[in-house]
């Protein structure tokens, strides 16, 4: 991976936060992406009757294919909420599905269950609740009482540089714990300073913004923001 990534240690394991929002663990040759929310447009159409552009799965897979092409991982971990719900997973466009299956060729592919897609899917790979690899534990929702070295998703963190209006998807990390940004094209975000998310981390924590390059920025301590809950 080139100099555009941010290199850090999580519980002693060397990690790279890629500008795309994916995580690469060199020792395991493992690529991790979270909250793909594939087929979200299908669920929105079914439940709310809105006809969003039905191209988000294609767009998400396009970016994932690029990351896989560049990193050539032997293992890909999808960290939960890979599908917007199980019905959406079943209704996946055949072309998108073929693409997804092709990406799994020649590597291990792990679907971690999320709250949106609890249960098995039939898009190849293996499913599980959590996974341990290279001193790290991969699960969908952070466990406040977890052992160090936890990697999770779920919160879709976002943050911006003070003085710049733009907010970007970001990783949040403090050396013990890491939360990944949402990788899916149609995903909103939660401000990384929100107590529910910020409280999971030590005072000294970083947001690593995605974009043209992965950009680390310190987050303000939790206290400042939670004084008046």
């Amino acid at each position: 991976m080139n100099g555009m990534s941010y290199s850090f240690a999580l519980n002693g394991t060397h990690c790279l936060a890629l500008p795309s929002g994916a995580l690469f663990v060199p020792s395991e040759n493992l690529l991790c992406v979270s909250d793909l929310h594939m087929a979200k447009s299908e669920r929105v159409a079914r439940r709310r009757g809105l006809m969003l552009p039905p191209y988000e799965t294609r767009a998400t897979l396009d970016r994932l294919a690029q990351d896989i092409e560049a990193a050539k991982p032997t293992c890909v971990v999808a960290l939960g909420d890979s599908f917007d719900d199980l019905a959406a997973s079943e209704a996946l466009d055949p072309e998108d599905r073929a693409r997804l299956i092709a990406l799994q060729d020649g590597r291990r592919w792990v679907w971690i269950e999320g709250n949106h897609d609890a249960g098995p899917n039939d898009h190849g790979g293996e499913g599980c609740h959590s996974l341990s690899a290279g001193g790290l534990t991969f699960r969908h929702i952070a466990d406040a009482a977890s052992e160090p070295g936890e990697v999770s998703g779920h919160y879709h963190p976002k943050y911006g540089l003070p003085g710049f209006a733009e907010r970007r998807r970001c990783f949040v990390v403090d050396g013990r714990r890491l939360i990944l940004p949402a990788y899916g094209t149609y995903t909103g975000g939660l401000d990384a300073r929100e107590p529910v998310l910020r409280h999971l981390f030590a005072d000294k924590a970083l947001a690593v913004l995605t974009g043209a390059r992965a950009m680390p920025v310190p987050l303000p301590p939790a206290r400042e923001h939670s004084r008046r809950a």
């Binding site: 850090f8 999580l10 709310r48 009757g49 939660l190 310190p218």
Partner: protein, 798 residues
């Protein structure tokens, strides 16, 4: 026709006589469509209602007789009060009610079952009523519709929505008579065509225009500053005028300018004159308090913006002050009408130029207003995003046949030339999203059953109803005191640039930013000498084409006896050291100043178009390695700053390159995304309001920018992208004005390479709001900032 006998006592008791136009409105009340053009205060609204009151007094009946639609909720409430007086005094069997967003749920339900004789409402509330399945029952006996302030509605999509609603009403109640009430405008015929059922004609009545207004430019005792828009130099003179008059309205072009002026006015208001502030970003409570104080006669002046262009008649206003260039002669004339319109006294208005260029603009605007030479922007055809919403609203009311709806829509002036293909595109978009590469088969929004279109899921009607309307949401956030009081709104963008401890102005108060919680900006009161000024949304108006041409003509005079000496001398200097801009050529001046190269493009195409031109030209310059750093736009010129001189400006202005830049590169720019956001919301691609929505902000929404980028990449010919490009011809992007400029100059570019900054360009160097060139440089700035923060936080590595 004379006054009906039953109404005579009411008029007699007040010593009133019918105005000529009021009598004519009664005489011609059978016309299918009738447009009254009258200045403010000519008893316009009463003219609209007299025939209704006469008819109901002569022949009492039950059911809805007349629908009154105005752009302002407050106007509906105020008019109800005014109409109730004669009705109650004369004991007429007429029930009058209003129905707006503020009407209680219970009252609304009752109105649907048992409508009043006269219902006062807004375009949005009318569209909502038409979305109910019982709409035909509510409106079946409707006899007249009165559209108040139609000139204001006709300028926006709210008007397009209203006119589409009229076509629906006509289908329910054939033979419905339409009445429009308008202020003085440049294009009565155009408005008449919007009002009438196409292709029927529409009669136009002109009321007596009244006395010639008394117009002048303020003599502040000194020259205005070179640049800026706050006109703070004029405060002492403005206070003097306020003192000399009974009640003064002080109009500003933007909310931010009004805030700055008001703040500084109070710092100099040694006599403690009661002066308040009123604009669209202040909380409703605050605005109502100001309006009430005004009605009681407690105020000497109100610092305000366009929100007071319309609305309740304040008879006691005897002076209107226009701060800054008026941008549109038409708007100036309408504003002037806010003063002294009761008796036969001329309206009085004073224009206050905020800088040297505005001296030219004010001079030209006064000349045009005296001649009654009004300007307008020609209307394009009815926008398709509004039509999409109309189709969804129609579907909420029940199944419909496409042929019927198409025929109905074609009776609307703005949609008279709508092709069947375009209509079908809109219908297809509503039904399936209209995507080229992938179709929703199972979960369509509209289904065709037995030849009739209907909602697949009837529950969708509730959500569609919650999102009716075309008023653009600028993405603003509420501002609240910690103690809970609501102060108003600021732009989301501005809010995101605040850090705790920053102070800014809102409603004339200095407040300190404490925190951003969910969708609310929390502040505390604070004294601070140098607060920032919030941005409030509601973009700048560019100066009109006609007024711009007047300014160009003025510049070509051999001398300027009508201008103040300081301004005439300034123009003479420019003539000596460079050239004065001409309408059919483009003057480009390049010079070095402050260790940077500058290029001033005198496009005279208005602020928005110059902003867009700035984006396009700097992009081209970056491609050519000319190292542009940024640009600043005004209504008259674009100033680009860079590390190297622009040696061949004519080649930058090649129309093919500029058009290609618009078609390709600009499509990815934020201005296009902002245009798309409005289109997508109105057309119903997304829903802003959801039932039972809790504002947790959490993962709930993602921005329409993502949808835009996705469409551009995967479905570039999608209906909503076509609509977005069409709308970019006007408004924020205003590419139509760039085209107007290109066709004027026809490639004739005069390049003046000046030794130093030219007199005309000097003010441009002082203008604020420089736009940095996006791209690599910005990314680098962010990285530097991030590194600095890391160092401060003492975090080196994890």
């Amino acid at each position: 026709m004379t006054l009906p006998a039953r109404l005579a006592p009411f008029f007699a008791r007040r010593g009133w006589a019918l105005h000529r136009h009021q009598a004519e409105m009664l005489d011609r009340s059978d016309e299918p469509a009738l447009l009254l053009i009258a200045p403010t205060g000519a008893g316009k609204t009463l003219s609209g209602f007299l025939p209704t009151i006469a008819e109901l007094a002569e022949a009492p009946r039950s059911g809805l007789h007349t629908l009154y639609v105005s752009p302002l909720k407050a106007l509906a409430t105020d008019i109800k009060r005014n109409l109730l007086t004669p009705v109650e005094e004369l004991g007429l069997p007429i029930r009058i009610e209003d129905r707006t967003g503020d009407t209680s749920q219970a009252a609304r339900k009752r109105q649907r079952v048992d409508p009043p004789h006269i219902l006062l409402t807004t375009p949005e509330s009318l569209a909502l009523l038409l979305s109910y399945e019982d709409a035909p029952k509510i409106f079946e006996g409707l006899s007249r519709i009165v559209v108040d302030e139609i000139h204001a509605l006709a300028e926006s999509k709210r008007g397009d929505q209203l006119f589409l609603s009229l076509s629906r009403l006509e289908a329910i109640a054939p033979g419905l008579r339409r009445v429009g009430l308008s202020a003085t405008v440049d294009n009565p015929q155009e408005i008449a065509q919007l009002l009438a059922r196409n292709p029927q004609p529409c009669a136009i009545l002109h009321a007596d225009p009244g006395e010639e207004p008394d117009l002048s430019m303020l003599d502040a005792g000194r020259a205005p500053p070179w640049a800026g828009g706050a006109a703070l130099h004029a405060i002492p003179a403005v206070l003097e005028e306020v003192k000399r008059h009974k009640t003064t309205l002080i109009f500003h072009n933007t909310r931010a300018q009004a805030e700055v002026f008001f703040h500084n006015l109070w710092l100099q208001n040694d006599d403690g004159l009661p002066i308040a502030i009123h604009h669209g970003s202040l909380s409703r409570e605050q605005r109502q308090a100001v309006e009430a104080a005004m009605l009681r006669g407690d105020l000497k002046a109100i610092v305000c913006t366009g929100t007071l262009d319309l609305g309740i008649d304040w008879g006691d206003v005897d002076l209107v002050i226009q701060m800054g260039g008026p941008k549109y002669v038409k708007r100036l004339v309408q504003r002037i009408g806010r003063a002294n319109h009761r008796a036969g006294v001329p309206s009085k208005a004073i224009l206050v130029p905020a800088n040297r260029f505005e001296v030219l603009e004010c001079t030209c605007a006064i000349a045009a207003a005296r001649l009654g030479d009004l300007d307008g922007t020609p209307r394009g055809p009815g926008p398709l995003d509004v039509l999409c919403q109309h189709i969804l609203i129609r579907a909420c009311a029940g199944p419909f046949a496409a042929d019927d709806l198409y025929a109905e829509v074609r009776t609307v002036g703005g949609y008279a030339s709508l092709s069947r293909a375009a209509f079908d595109d809109c219908l297809e978009f509503c039904a399936t999203g209209g995507y080229a590469l992938r179709a929703y088969d199972r979960w369509k929004r509209l289904m065709l059953r037995d030849g009739f279109w209907q909602l697949r899921d009837p529950r969708a009607a509730k959500r569609i109803r919650m999102n009716i309307g075309t008023i653009e949401d600028t993405g603003s956030l509420n501002v609240r005191l910690r103690s809970g009081a609501h102060l108003g709104e600021i732009e989301e963008y501005f809010a995101s640039t605040l850090t705790p401890g920053d102070t800014f102005l809102i409603g004339g108060q200095v407040v300190r930013f404490e925190s951003l919680r969910e969708m609310t900006v929390e502040v505390t009161r604070r004294r601070d000498a140098n607060p920032r000024v919030a941005s409030f949304g509601g973009g700048k108006f560019p100066t009109s084409v006609a007024l711009t041409h007047r300014i160009l003509d003025l510049l070509q005079q051999s001398d300027w006896p009508e201008l103040p000496r300081h301004t005439a001398e300034w123009l003479n200097l420019q003539r000596r050291f460079s050239k004065l801009p001409e309408a059919d050529r483009m003057l480009v001046e390049t010079f070095e100043a402050e260790e940077r190269w500058h290029a001033a493009f005198w496009g005279f195409a208005g602020w928005n178009a110059h902003q867009t031109l700035g984006l396009l030209l700097t992009h081209r310059m970056e491609q050519r390695g000319l190292d542009p750093l940024g640009f600043v736009a005004t209504d008259y010129a674009l100033l680009i700053t860079g590390l190297r001189e622009v040696e061949d400006p004519a080649s930058l202005l090649d129309p093919r390159d500029i058009r290609e830049g618009f078609e390709t590169w600009l499509q990815g720019n934020a201005v296009m995304k902002r245009t798309f956001r409005g289109v997508a919301t109105i057309a119903g691609l997304i829903e802003k309001n959801l039932p039972g929505q809790r504002k947790t902000g959490r993962q709930a929404t993602f921005s329409t920018d993502i949808l835009y980028d996705t469409l551009v990449k995967y479905d570039p010919d999608h209906l909503l992208l076509r609509v977005t490009r069409e709308q970019a011809q006007h408004g924020l992007v205003d590419f139509g004005r760039i085209e107007e400029m290109l066709s004027r100059i026809q490639g004739r570019v005069d390049h003046v390479r000046a030794k130093r900054v030219t007199p005309l360009a000097a003010p441009l160097l002082l203008e604020r709001g420089r736009v940095p060139v996006a791209g690599a440089a910005r990314e680098r700035l962010m990285a530097e900032q991030a590194a600095r923060l890391l160092e401060e936080a003492g975090i080196e590595a994890l």
